[in-house]
Amino acid sequence: MIGSGEFTFDGEAVPFAAGEHLLTALLRAGLHPTGGGTLCAEGHSPHCVAEVDGVAYVHTCQTIARDGMLVQAQPIGDAPVLPSVAPSVRPVVVRNVHHDVLVVGGGESGRAAAASIGAPIVDADDGGEVIGIYPGPMVVVRTDVGMVHHHVERVVVATGVLPLLPVCPGNDLMGLYTPKLAERLMAAGVDLGRTVTVVDPPQRFEGGGRVSAVVVGDERIECDAVIVDIGTTPNDVLARMGAGLAVDVVGGAAVVATPPLCPAEGMVCPCNQTTMAGLADAWERGFTSMELLKRASLAGTGVCQGAVCSPYLQSFIADRTGTLEARFTARPVARQATLSEIAAGRHHPAVPRTSLHAVHEAAGATMDRLGGWWRPWIYSDVDAEYDAVRNAVSIGDVGTLGKFIVSGPDAEAALQRLVPTDVSTIGPGRSRYILMLDERGYVLDDGMILREGEGERFFMTLTSGGASFAEMWVRDWTADLDVRWMNVTMAMGAINVTGPRASELLARLGFEEPLPMLHHIHADVADVACRVVRLSFTGEVSFELHHPCARSGELWQALLDAGADLGVTPHGLDALSRLRLEKGHIIVGQDSDYDSTPRRLRHDWMVDLDSGDFIGRHAIERTNRLALDKQLVGLEGDGPPPFEGAVAWNSDGTYAGYVTSAAWSATLDRSVMLAWIRAVDGAVPDEVLVEGTVVRRVELPFYDPKGVRARG
């Protein structure tokens, strides 16, 4: 009479007593989780794993039975069946704790180590199952209430020893137990039948499904169960995982044990069904070291992570070489863990929101993640947004731009090193469009450099997605110079006021000073202190208003209010991408590739080889001697725009390249696109086929080639 509860195993009701492990109840009922193999009660043998309540690879010898549990057999060597319906997963909580030292293992050596240094102990028998040791060191432990991440200065691994499991023919039969499990089963009243204890490695087990006899030496003993007590082996998975970290190993786990005799036959890695013959085959094929043998045979890569096979791999190699090789490298995880457990405490990178985020949402904008920020893609009518820029005035949120202040006696020299232009010729109050190259001469980023007054102080803008990388890059490359950098990307808002009536709108808000193209000035707009920068990305008269981000909302609203009768309309990224494409302006990362030199991008006019020893200079000089192999070109067609990424084909059917940007130009009444096109004998073809339609190569920009409108 058991009388505590029932769980189901493959649909069959299995009674259990209070506090009993699943495995004990299963064996009492004459069932076996995996159909056979030596069971150990230590949570290391792969023979007791099952799917429990939808979680695969659960060690039933470590899991206390609960009423209503759904347990399913998970045949050894097979992957669990993927659920047809995604299980309901609750986030697993994590607790971060910090110690000087943590002892893993609550046995004799662990307790002694803990007592001597006053360190806490984590031990599986007390509900703390170590999943792995990570650099830090950090010890990740699974408990009944979630994960615990122990951040420590030093780890003491005192995990003791494991029972050696037998490798011989018949070692996959039912009825094979380690002494500890046999003791547990007998204490629980499980009838094992006729038992025999073997202390020497058996020749074989015999039986059909269940063991009926064991052969040791010349002796054959009939039985219903075999208690296998053939020795121990260091439980050193965590010790090996901690190699190179601040990890000490004590007790049985630290012992360099003599491996068992090399078996002639049998399943050596039950997890992957690797036999001794399989090891021999791998050896014959030349995989003659521990790490190679593991990879070739897969022994040691399964559920038990080598708990069964690693001593036998040692003896297998020693038998052939006479050398005792160290066991193979161990990496987290040491125990099976769910994705929720692995992900516990992890957070995806937060996407920043500009100081106008709430304003955009209130205006009904569709927000999207672009360039590493939440940005308005479209407000309500992209054609109206486009039209406002081309024919009236519009405002756009460009607060996402990378923004840096540069100061110091070597500020000019620092910038000179970073960009391929003569920074000394940028006068006070002037600005210049710049590229930033890497050592290979490939374009990393683009932006603007603005010189402040007469002093050595500059302001630099870069692309929205490039600021964090750029900060590392510029600091790294100028560490030897007397220069100060400040990344103010997150601290400053920026609004682009653009369109033929942009100057008129700003005048209504107090900014009436004529500001030529590529000039900038500090001035108040609507009583907000701004750095006003005259440039153009849209092809129309444009002013960027850089300002303290806390005042973005009021500046935005003032522009809307003052320009209502001018038709001021905010524009999103969808409209902006069309506008800039008509001007042939590239977006680094979209139109550039990993190997885009300025020449390939048709931006070689931005490289001044007389400007000093900038990053990428030598690569540019070398690659300039090579024939041009591809180029970013402008294409136009009469049909609808292709999708971005569409392949371009030559007229003879050969591959020509691909489209990076494409849009329908309402102003030009045709499709316009940028595309990488292969050059043949240094020349790019005049026509290619894209989506079955002939498109023509044209000079850039498509719109207002003389720049009359941008200059106003």
Binding site: R346, A350, W373, D482, M490, A550
Partner: protein, 132 residues
Amino acid sequence: MAEFVVARELVAAVRIAADPNALDTAEWPADATEMRLAPDEVLLLDMLDAAAPEPHAIVFPDTGWVRFVLSPEDGARLFEGAATWPPPTLGFGQGAIAGIPAKVVVGPERWCIVVQAVLADDFEDRLGSVLT
């Protein structure tokens, strides 16, 4: 605003990038909360301006920070659930909390956590998921 947050506020601050030696010897008003972000950068909370500690220093009135004020109990719970680094016993520390770059000043009666305004909404959401 979630119940556990004692206060969330935009904070007046001045950020200064300067020669490290100049920052080492600079003296700030007694009511400013100093956060030494890096050898060459300091953030001073509750100030609108500051004297440049050396001629080439960048002194930047920085309105891009939000301060969360927590009780010591909630602060400790937040670190336990969402930070892989230990909080300072008292004073300034910085690192990721719930995956978001944060500065913290631990005081005997309150913990001030300062994050960039562009990430403040995310931080508050994550703070809520840890503390509730």
